[in-house]
């Protein structure tokens, strides 16, 4: 049976689905005829940017692992990082930005659900979730609503599904007002010899749909993700999927049990583009084909058309390819957990996906053309017009603040810096009893049960730096992630990235994307943290503005002995506070001529002066890597008692956070080569504040010499106030309790303001 006599699809119809004329003509060429309505729908989602990466694919080839996968065995649902002992960690981060802007609670929830399915369909047991979030300022009622609902949605799903949320980051900037960013990350633990693959091998094997019934929710979700947000976006609420964490919870247990039975040949999550994507990708990867009948797909609504069934993005569903004589055994496992599992077709050898509705053939397309042959475009890249003026901003014209105490408190109360306890208290952080370091320190640390090992995990990105220089900003995101891991005693071993950018069809938007990826690819290889998985989210803009380029980096680190982890808080009276930095003065390496240059893109400039300008701080990756080495050695040897990296807000904020977390003060002296504000608030890279016992200073000196980094004694831990003198003049003297309440109450205070606006 084959399809003949098809009529041309009206340009208006395929354009509405997101295809252009050239793409439509390519479909006609591939099929040798006009497509059916169902087929056009299938191509339009698979060839959207969200699924087909038609704009980003040429750039993503800069990532080594991506290149190897595309040219080799193909991409899997998530990447796996070896941690020894026959174990691996499956890790991935993914965006759920556009739906969150219109339906924040459900969308944030669904974001976690999709991530977890990518993890456990590989046979990995999910052990932790993280998130990376961006909102507009909390002064706006709409932004408070989005923040509140996204956090509630993440908590609702993560807590009920039974996976602890152990870390994350939240920033607030004007550019995210109309287009918040919601990136969810998940990790799973797996034995290398138990990995399941997303392949439809074995002609004659049965194809099952497992999990929730299929509804009309989320149709064309992938297409929605591939256009800009505008005033009509609110009407796209039906594009938003609805998640059910209970169904997911039992799906996890049932799936892992089914995979362990050995009867499952291949399995893939149904996320974007639902049945269409999973059938064509698993077939294409195995070089097989598939024949399915949509009448066998259980639906939750009456009279669904093949088009709707093939494009539905209903959540908590998976495609499983099962040995043909073991279907009963596998369905019994799902039945025990109350999870529907139904045979919808079988694997064939002709490379085609045949979709039937009973006896009628409604689609017949080459699997590979849908999965792998999305047209790619080399877009024009052009440096944004705004950039030169911003980068050349004269930072010497910035005045000193009237009162340094007030300035410090204002920065601590800036929601991007302030405590995020309001948010992470809504997440179960301790479930599964692996959480050694919960949110609020540098990286989260988990123990690996049954071994002495631990893993550190973190997600980082300073979008403002990326706005001012996407190449350097992206590299700093990688360096900071690895630095946070090193501060926790974990050595970076792998990364995942979520590339959030604006419209790539604008040359300046594409330039940002290209430069950031170039920076990421170089930095991840340099820090031995290859990117093993990731996600691209483009078109993050409204008619008013685009978001800052925001390549969020999730990074995994390994601790050989989890007992030897380190945290950020000062531990004891009398300990010596030391700054470890990458610059080695006695070898002629120099700080920037004036540290004021490291004020570019700083929180200080933004909060105190209302300026977003300058260049991001200079990053020397060689120096940075040596700092990580010294930290890991110092922590591993038990010399370093606390470590906290200098990042947003600069040295004064780092010191304050270590005081607040330890509930103890510090007396610190700095020398400045230009204004005190630069000494306090410049965000110079490759620096970490550590504390050590006085008698161990000699050992620390040996370590920093061995790693050719600099150590500068800043002062001592003790008392109930933090004091900082710059060039022997005391300019900061604030009680720890005041620092604490200012930092801790900032976000709850904002959220208590005159309600929210839906």
């Amino acid at each position: 049976m084959s399809i003949t006599d098809t009529k041309p699809i009206e340009p208006k119809e395929y354009k509405e689905m997101g295809l252009n004329e050239a793409e439509y003509n390519e479909i006609v060429r591939v099929l040798g005829r006009h497509p059916t309505y169902t087929e056009v729908g299938m191509y339009s989602v698979m060839w959207s940017e969200h699924c087909g990466y038609k704009y980003s694919r040429p750039i993503l080839r800069l990532f080594k692992k991506y290149r190897e996968a595309i040219d080799g065995a193909g991409l899997e649902n998530a990447g796996i990082i070896d941690i020894g002992d026959g174990l691996g960690v499956a890790m991935k981060i993914e965006s759920h930005n556009h739906p969150s802007a219109v339906e924040p609670f459900q969308s944030a929830a669904t974001g976690i659900g999709g991530m977890l399915r990518d993890i456990f369909t590989m046979g990995a047991r999910p052990i932790a979730a993280l998130n990376s979030l961006r909102f507009g300022p909390l002064d706006e009622p709409r932004n408070r609503y989005l923040f509140e609902q996204v956090i509630a949605g993440l908590g609702y799903y993560g807590n009920a599904v039974g996976v602890p949320t152990v870390g994350g980051e939240v920033y607030f900037e004007e550019c995210y007002s109309g287009n918040c960013l919601v990136n969810a990350m998940a990790l799973g633990l797996i034995r290398h010899d138990e990995v399941a693959y997303a392949r439809a091998d074995g002609v004659g094997n049965s194809v099952l749909i497992v999990g929730s019934y299929t509804g009309r929710d989320g149709i064309h979700g992938a297409t929605f993700a591939s256009v800009e947000l505008n005033e009509e976006s609110e009407s796209k609420k039906s594009n938003v999927q609805m998640g059910d964490p209970f169904v997911e919870n039992v799906l996890i247990e049932a799936t892992l049990e089914a995979i362990a039975s050995g009867f499952v040949v291949g399995i893939q999550d149904m996320g974007a583009a639902g049945i269409t994507c999973s059938t064509c990708e698993t077939s294409a990867k195995a070089g097989t084909g598939m024949r399915i009948d949509v009448k066998n797909v259980p639906t939750r609504e009456e009279c669904m058309t093949p088009y709707e069934i093939m494009l539905s993005e209903s959540q908590e569903r998976m495609l499983a390819i099962v040995q043909k004589d073991k279907v009963d055994e596998v369905t019994a496992i799902f039945k025990k957990w109350g999870v529907p599992a139904n045979v919808i077709g079988e694997v064939t050898d002709d490379g085609l996906v045949h979709v039937y509705e009973g006896d009628d053939l409604v689609a017949q397309v080459p699997a590979k053309s849908l999965a792998d042959d999305a047209p790619t475009y080399q877009l024009e890249a052009k440096e944004p017009a705004y950039l030169a003026a911003l980068q050349n901003y004269d930072l010497s014209q910035v005045s000193e603040p009237a009162d340094y105490n007030e300035a410090l408190l204002a920065i601590l109360a800036s929601p991007s810096i302030a405590s995020k306890q309001w948010a992470y208290e809504q997440f179960d952080q301790t479930l599964l009893t692996n959480t050694v370091v919960a949110p609020g320190s540098n990286a989260a640390v988990l123990r690996i049960r049954g071994t002495n090992k631990g893993i550190g995990v973190v997600v980082d990105c300073n979008g403002r730096y990326c706005y001012l220089d996407p190449f350097v900003g992206a590299q700093i995101a990688v360096a900071e992630a690895a630095r946070n891991l090193a501060c926790s005693g974990a050595k970076a071993v792998g990364a995942t990235d979520c590339l959030n950018f604006g419209n790539p069809e604008r040359p300046d938007g594409f330039w940002q994307f290209k430069r950031a990826v170039e920076g990421l690819a170089e930095a991840c290889e340099f820090f031995d943290a290859p990117i093993v998985s990731g996600n691209v989210s483009l078109y993050n803009e409204t008619p008013e503005m685009a978001v800052y380029p925001t390549p969020a980096i999730g990074m995994l680190g390994l601790l050989d002995d989890v007992e030897k982890h380190c945290t950020s808080e000062f531990k004891a009276e009398g300990d010596v506070v030391v700054l470890i930095s990458g610059v080695r003065f006695d070898e002629g390496e120099k700080l920037p001529v004036c540290e004021r240059e490291s004020l570019g893109g700083s929180e200080y400039l933004k909060v105190i002066h209302g300026i977003v300008a300058g260049r991001p701080p200079v990053l020397d990756m060689e120096q940075e890597k040596r700092v990580h080495g010294a930290l890991l050695k110092g922590i591993g040897d038990g010399v370093i008692k606390s470590a906290h990296d200098c990042a947003d807000g600069g040295l004064a904020v780092t010191l304050a956070e270590s005081c607040i977390a330890g509930g103890i003060g510090a007396d610190v002296k700095l020398s400045a080569n230009c204004g005190p504000s630069a000494a306090l608030f410049a965000e110079t890279q490759s620096r970490v504040v550590v504390s050590v016992e006085a008698e161990k200073l000699g050992l620390l000196r040996e370590i920093v010499d061995a790693y050719r980094v600099e150590s500068t004694i800043l002062g001592t831990v003790g008392g109930d106030a933090m004091t900082i003198a710059v060039n022997d003049v005391e300019i900061i003297n604030v009680g720890v309790s005041e620092l604490d309440s200012c930092w801790r109450n900032a976000i709850p205070g904002k959220m208590a303001e005159t309600g929210v606006e839906c």
Binding site: N159, F246, N249, V250, F427, T430, L431
Partner: protein, 229 residues
């Protein structure tokens, strides 16, 4: 001594309870599927935390109809020991095996944090290894943890010393500020009249190893092991 950890669909705290019993107390432990009705051979049953049946209807409101609940009722009638933690506490209240109800936190938000609780009764099967007035640091993680009962029931609980744990400050004072969810009388855990069924919202099974930040939960587990059957 043999423990059983009941698994309802959605009981994600099952593994925490299982590992705590096996690795910390060294006792034997098995999972029990919620459709099971045979509890012979078990000495102590744990209803773990999580969100059984997705907390649909009410937290614990569906699980109370599982076949195992009747078996647990008979088991307890015969003197067997039963503890419900978090969602398990909610199920025991829903099933009428413990007095009172658990309502949504007065903050209307899920709360996960370490809290202090005071041991008010150290003569029960669940607290014999603790000292009276001892302050324990245990994690909570719940949306529906506000213990509520009417004043008559409260009077009985107080009079009979059936309040096991009470939210308190570092010094053991049951202040309003130390109450994380608005529970009546700062109540974090109770026992039944006979003293062989307990429920608590804090998670002792998550505080049993130094690496997890607290070992204060051990005394509760160890109390169950060492109390006379």
């Amino acid at each position: 001594m043999k423990f059983g950890v009941v698994r309802f669909p959605g009981s994600s705290g099952d593994k925490d309870a299982y590992f705590a019993v096996r690795d910390v107390t060294g006792q034997s432990v098995e999972y029990i599927w919620h459709e099971s009705t045979d509890l012979s051979g078990f000495d102590c049953i744990i209803l773990p935390g999580g969100a059984s049946y997705g907390d649909y209807l009410r937290a614990g409101g569906v699980a109370k109809n599982s076949p195992i609940i009747d078996a647990i009722r008979k088991f307890a009638d015969g003197g067997g020991r039963v503890i419900g933690i978090g969602n398990g506490f909610q199920i025991l209240c829903e099933a009428g095996l413990l007095p009172g109800d658990l309502l949504m936190n007065n903050t209307a938000r899920f709360r996960c944090l370490p809290v202090k609780v005071r041991v008010d009764n150290n003569t029960s099967d669940f607290s014999g290894k603790c000292c009276k007035g001892q302050v324990l640091s245990l994690p909570i993680a719940h949306l529906t943890g506000r213990y509520y009962c009417d004043s008559d029931t409260l009077n009985v609980l107080e009079k009979d010393g059936r309040v096991l744990l009470r939210y308190c400050d570092e010094s053991g004072n049951a202040t309003e500020q130390a109450n994380p969810n608005g529970s009546v009388g700062n109540i974090a855990g109770v026992v039944n009249e006979r003293g062989n069924i307990a429920g608590m919202m804090p998670h002792p099974e998550r505080a049993v190893e130094d690496i997890l930040g607290s070992t204060d939960g051990v005394c509760i587990l160890q109390s169950m092991v060492e109390a006379r059957l």
